[in-house]
Amino acid sequence: MPNAIYIALIPLLPLAGFLLLGLFGRRIFKNNSGVIGTLLMMCATIISLYVAYGYFFEYGKVNGVYQKLIPFKYAWLVFSKDLSIDMGITLDPISVMMLVVVTFISLMVHVFSLAYMKGEERFSTFYAFLSLFTFSMLGLVISSNIFQIYIFWELVGVSSFLLIGYYYDRPSAVAASKKAFIVTRFADLGFLIGILVLSFYSGTLDFNELISRLTAPGSDQLKAAVTSSFMGISAITWGTFLIFIGGAGKSAMFPLHVWLPDAMEGPTPVSALIHAATMVVAGVYLVARLFPVFAMAAPDSLQIVAYVGAVSALLAAVIACTQTDIKRVLAYSTMSQIGYMMFALGVAKYGGENGLGYTASMFHLFTHAMFKALLFLCAGAVIHFVHSNEMADMGGLRKKLPVTHIAFLIACLSIAGIPPFSGFFSKEEILLAAWQQNRTIYWIGLITSGMTAFYMFRLYFSIFWNRDFNDHHSAHNHHGEGGGLITIPLIILAIGSIVSGFIPFGNFVSSDGSRLATGFHASFSIMPVSIGVIGILIAGWLYKKQSDKPDKISSSLNGLYKTAYHKFYIDEIYLFITKKILFNLVGRPAAWFDRNVVDGLVNFTGNTTQVISEKIKGIQSGKVQQYAIYFLIGAIGLAALIIYW
């Protein structure tokens, strides 16, 4: 059994970093903040690598099956004997894998930022937030309790909010951070209700218990969850679906993806860490965590997962082809790749060969983290150099930024699924899984794969080839590539992007914990690879040299292009719903109602009293005879009332 303290240190070190830097950073550490944060992160990374080694090779496997280990659990908030929010640590293949991914990418980003963010006014704050995010993400992945994951889920959301809004004086950044938070919050509403549903039927919040109760055939809890229904859909389907909504929100699945492109307002390292490699895959992770329930008790929900994933993958790819802001292109590509992971999960089944999609999804998550982080960091380096996000301001940078260029190329090849880069392996598995289970999705995936290759190389060529770089755009970019702190992370990640594909992932991660043999199917790979190559060639044809070909094509595809360029007007729809419906049709009437009707009623009561008081003042006429008349009437009336009533 592993030592819980070690594992607990992994999230606690970044937390310590956050507290240290957040409370004292501005005053005491100042420019050393980055170094402190990075060192703490490095310790965490080392520990997590150590833990991963230990888990996968020493104690994790019992009788050929990777066990779910819970070295630590503390009842944080007890609702009843069974229901309690625990703070615990789960070790299983995916959580260990995520530990490694998160700490590793985070470390890279920390290092990268040392140079990238240098000289920022709120340098220590940046590192504090970065540490906070890492802490939250690590807490999320090791959660042993569904409520614990929700807690860290929210914390991840808020750190994302803080980091996107890092440049708080830019209105666009403020708006983007708000949007990111609110959209994911909306999704979390689903998550929350899903938790309520599942916990109600299973009677527990603990993952292990919950999964075992809801998957054990014939258990009372499962029976109750399947038989009770709302609107004709069983409770378990509702529960899992609602939880998936939460996941979809964080993972930017259609139609909750709108926040992700805007989130690129944050500093680029942040985009690399949060909006590419780690946080956005939390949704995938969540579905994977509850995969047995999805697969065995709620196959309908899993279907939805599959289709949402597929649609998102395709849609994002289409949009990515039209964007000109390089970070946005990357953002949409992220969304597209996560769509892959999602539908891979969606087409998987529990156990054995049928669980291929699960393994593939996790595999892709792993490789994607590497090459996407690399892409973003490269983009960061480029932006650092050019001081612009627009493709139009770039071109011909391969001479200026040689390391970046190579790293970017590796990443592009990887994402395009060209062997032997890592993306090829994971994507092959995904497509294979889809082919085995659901042909429609396979074709969507295939098309998307081709488009991925196209837009990535469009990006690549536009940045590094196309035309000669014009120095006049920004007179002060004489700092070159930015030294070791910038290039070392790129190199490390590039290596990672290459080698990670060769990891025999099926050995470690599978839906039921036992080993899954994943062979190399050369015959199956021909189609995807060739489509990828075709995409690359088209991109090269169009963008390697400056020409008017792209414009022509885009104008010939007028309607479609425009729609895609405007992201299918989804933002506008949201704006309509929030501004027009929520604000004008709900909020404004509510405020009006409150001020005029509810409040009016109170004031009316007051005024009526005053008015009556004014009206009846004539009784007190000042004439003594009238007083006597009232006296007599009162006396007689009272007597008559008592006598004759």
Binding site: L155, V158, F161, R185
Partner: protein, 493 residues
């Protein structure tokens, strides 16, 4: 522990303030008094937990009872259970913070502090009392100081607001009074105001049916039960900073505590019968308050309306009548008290500097006042229920408890309540985004100074409270849950 000390200290402090020779003296006396009380509150917490861990499972601990008006069976009867301890802690936190943020009050300082401490004495007494008569006594003690605080030191249309507040609260307490009398006269031939005695009696259901609504609405007025909440926005917005803090942090809790301790506990059958109405009203309040908040431009109005929404959670928890929901309701009382006090404190700090509370006139305050802006962030995050802060714990407990009620109606109400977390996020982020983030709109703001020591101390005290609950909710849970259990025992029966 002798609970009377908790009453004595504020009373003596108030008298000492009256005897103070100048403004500065009265400030320090108030601070010293509230600091002593703060310490006493923790001593109470310690003593209480100590007793409990030593196996003392009496419903109420540290009970004191002296006959006061034997002719009416009125006694000075005080004691605490976990819920009361939590509320007293809350009060202590807010009082000390309120005293600190009012350091800059220069107009009639002595009177200001006197009223502040008097108000707190009323609140302490209310939470301590186990006799309905003295409970009502303290409830009313707390009304007039509010009126004067708003009317004299307030801003805006303060006289209107003060009047409205005093009259509506008086109206509420009038209903409470009738309800109390009803219970008194239906408590068998002995006729008692004693809460513990009443809790053992079985009041006939017909009587409960009449008096439960009176009591619940009466207390509900204090705690902004829809549609009796209209004093909240006006009152809060017109009050001086400490006034708003006390109003939202303590005064509204008097009502919710009354709803729980008096109405629900003592009349469990009617509570069960009326639960759907309570739930309906509170669910409306939650959503309606949240939506109304979205449209506000004045920071204080934003927080006031959000208080309506948040207090709706309290009532929802009470209405749901499950152990967990009631625990959550009490947690929400504490949490909302601290959070809203912090919010009002920071709004006060901002207002003092910018002289406006209109969000559209501000912007970019982060640049000039990082400390205050950070507090603003924290208050906002707590308000929108972020983990790590108290609001999350309370709300989730309420949701968990509410979900235990099967039945479509309950489910819909719970989901509606859950939905408010999104709306809350919208208006909180809007407020934050417009005030502390973004570019600086008014160049005069560049001269503004950040928080002073007293303001920092006040904020830190409140934040510590919030985080103590948010990070380690188990202590509060352990404190409150047995109390909720006792209440539930009568309901289940």
């Amino acid at each position: 522990m002798n609970l009377s000390v908790l009453l004595l200290v504020p009373t003596l402090t108030a008298i000492a303030i009256l005897l103070a020779r100048n403004a500065n003296q009265s400030r320090w006396i108030a601070f010293a008094g509230s600091a002593i009380q703060f310490g006493l509150a923790f001593a109470l917490l310690y003593a209480f937990s100590h007793e409990r861990t030593n196996g003392n499972y009496e419903q109420m601990l540290f009970v004191q009872q002296y006959n006061w008006f034997p002719a009416w069976n009125i006694s000075y009867h005080i004691g605490v259970d976990g819920i009361a301890v939590a509320m007293i802690l809350l009060t202590a936190f807010i009082v000390i913070a309120g005293v600190l943020v009012s350091w800059n009050v220069i107009y009639r300082t002595k009177e200001f502090y006197f009223l502040l401490i008097l108000l707190s004495a009323g609140a302490y007494g209310f939470f301590l009392s186990l006799d309905l008569f003295i409970l009502f006594f303290f409830l009313e003690v707390a009304v007039i100081p509010k009126y004067l605080l708003i009317g004299i030191w307030g801003s805006g249309k303060k006289e209107y607001s003060a009047n409205k507040l005093a009259l509506m609260l008086m109206g509420g307490s009038a209903l409470v009074l009738v309800g109390l009398l009803g219970m008194y006269f239906s408590s068998g031939h002995e006729k008692t105001f004693d809460v513990l005695r009443l809790a053992q009696l079985h009041i006939p259901i017909d009587v409960q049916r009449i008096f439960f609504p009176l009591l619940f609405i009466g207390f509900g007025v204090f705690t902004a039960l829809f549609p009796f909440h209209t004093w909240v926005p006006d009152g809060h917005s017109s009050a001086p900073t400490a006034g708003s803090m006390f109003l939202a942090g303590i005064s509204m809790k008097l009502g919710s505590y009354g709803c729980l301790r008096v109405a629900t506990w003592l009349m469990p059958d009617a509570a069960k019968e009326y639960a759907p109405i309570v739930i309906l009203l509170s669910a409306i309040a939650i959503l309606y308050g949240a939506f109304a908040t979205m449209m506000q431009k004045d920071l204080k109005y934003i927080n006031a309306y959000s208080s309506v929404s948040h207090c709706g959670f309290i009532l929802l928890g009470i209405g749901m009548l499950t152990k967990t929901a009631i625990t959550g309701a009490v947690m929400q009382m504490v949490s909302h008290g601290l959070m809203t006090a912090l919010f009002f404190a920071v709004i006060g700090m901002i207002y003092e500097r910018t002289h406006t509370r209109n969000v559209s006139e501000m912007g970019g305050l982060m640049k000039v006042m990082p400390f205050i802006s950070t507090i603003f962030f924290i208050a906002g995050f707590c308000s929108l229920g972020l983990p790590g802060f108290s609001g999350f714990v309370a709300e989730m407990t309420i949701f968990m408890g509410s979900w235990q009620n099967t039945g479509l109606f309950y489910r819909v109400a719970t989901v509606a309540a859950c939905m408010s977390i999104v709306v809350t996020a919208v208006y909180i982020l809007r407020a934050i985004g417009q005030t502390v983030m973004g570019p600086i709109k008014n160049q005069d703001y560049l001269q503004l100074k950040d928080a002073k020591w007293n303001e920092k101390l006040a904020a830190i005290i409140l934040i510590l409270g919030i985080i103590a609950i948010g990070v380690a909710p188990f202590w509060l849970n352990d404190l409150v849950r047995p109390g909720a259990e006792i209440i539930m025992q009568r309901i289940v029966k």
